[in-house]
Symmetry: C2
Subunit: 211 residues, 2 copies
């Protein structure tokens, strides 16, 4: 409950607590496309850039899409306790830096971080008061099609990713919200996510995120 | 959790459960203005018309703003168990008819009902899985000003309503969401309410309303 006094001036117009929004979903579902659209719209969120050891794709920009780092640098960050969570996904390391999230929340800034489903499960234990959104493909066929169109996976990888996606979808009950990501309907998914953030900010009992 | 099968066709695209949205807030806060704007926007909700024994104001239409009924008719409805809840507010009776809500929900239709704070508290016990939204004035001064502008209350009523509003605001913790209703910002409040409905429809664990 927001603090309030009733001596004729309602003083509960205090700024609501900042939210930590965790956006997740199977590989290929369109997490990056959604994030990129939200950045374009200048939606007032701090978008956390995560770390990876995988090679940069032609379409990706260092320090915006990911911080691309060497495996040695990544191991060093783990040792220094600079990562909130990390995981090996399809042979590459992915990690969420702790300090940028902490600083954004301390500034009262709503913050969004994109992680794979395994990472989201870890974050759920560390920061259960975050808002967990699962980006869901309309079908596994469509997910496979999208991975094919990306031209970055071998057919072996494709089969593996589809199998993994089916497993990941079983983790849905650990999430708060499910948003459908249909091709050519990015704006629909973005609108749903923005509605979720607006609604969460109207909650009478706000979430209290602490890192 | 929505039912799902994973035999390569994700069949959790089932229609989500219909919502029952309870819109409440102090007298004069602008509940009717918000509802009327949502009707204008043809927002796909079933708006339940409630019953009252108070005289119709010049601006009000029978069977749209309220069903205006006699005290005898109202008592008859109570006896026949046709009202979900009812209360005496400032000397007049107000009641929520059961059947229209039941039928709308059975058709799978999201449904909104407007009630005073006392009525919302009763509904919270009867249908705890409804979505409870509290429409909040920015200050008690502004609420008084609005009641004055309405020209329907005597100065005695005004003082009483302001005192009651302060009591009603203390019931905020029983609500799910709080939406601020500022003058000339009806559309902002309407947008917040629509975001809340969208977000509720994205919940992984849907609310199961039963009457």
């Amino acid at each position: 409950m927001r603090e309030m006094s009733l001596n004729n001036e309602l003083t509960f117009n205090l700024p609501p607590k900042p939210l930590l929004i965790v956006l997740s979903g199977p590989s290929g579902v369109g997490k990056d496309a959604v994030l990129s659209r939200m950045r374009e719209l200048r939606y007032p969120l701090e978008f956390i850039t995560t770390m990876t050891t995988r090679p940069r794709r032609a379409s990706e920009r260092d320090h915006i899409d990911y911080h691309f780092v060497s495996p040695a640098k990544f191991q060093e960050m783990i040792k220094r306790n600079e990562l909130l969570e990390w995981a090996n996904v399809y042979g590459n390391w992915y990690g969420v830096p702790r300090e940028p999230i902490k600083q954004a929340l301390e500034r009262g800034q709503d913050t969004m971080v994109k992680v794979d489903v395994q990472g989201a499960a870890t974050l759920k234990k560390l920061v259960p008061q975050a808002v967990f959104i699962f980006l869901m493909p309309p079908s596994l066929e469509e997910l496979m099609l999208r991975l094919k169109l990306r031209h970055t996976e071998s057919s072996f990888d494709l089969a593996l990713r589809t199998k993994t996606a089916a497993e990941e979808i079983k983790k849905l009950p650990f999430f708060d919200y499910v948003v459908y990501s249909r091709r050519d309907e990015i704006d629909r998914a973005v609108a749903d996510i923005m509605a979720i953030i607006t609604a969460e900010k109207c909650r009478v009992k706000p979430r209290e995120v602490s890192l």
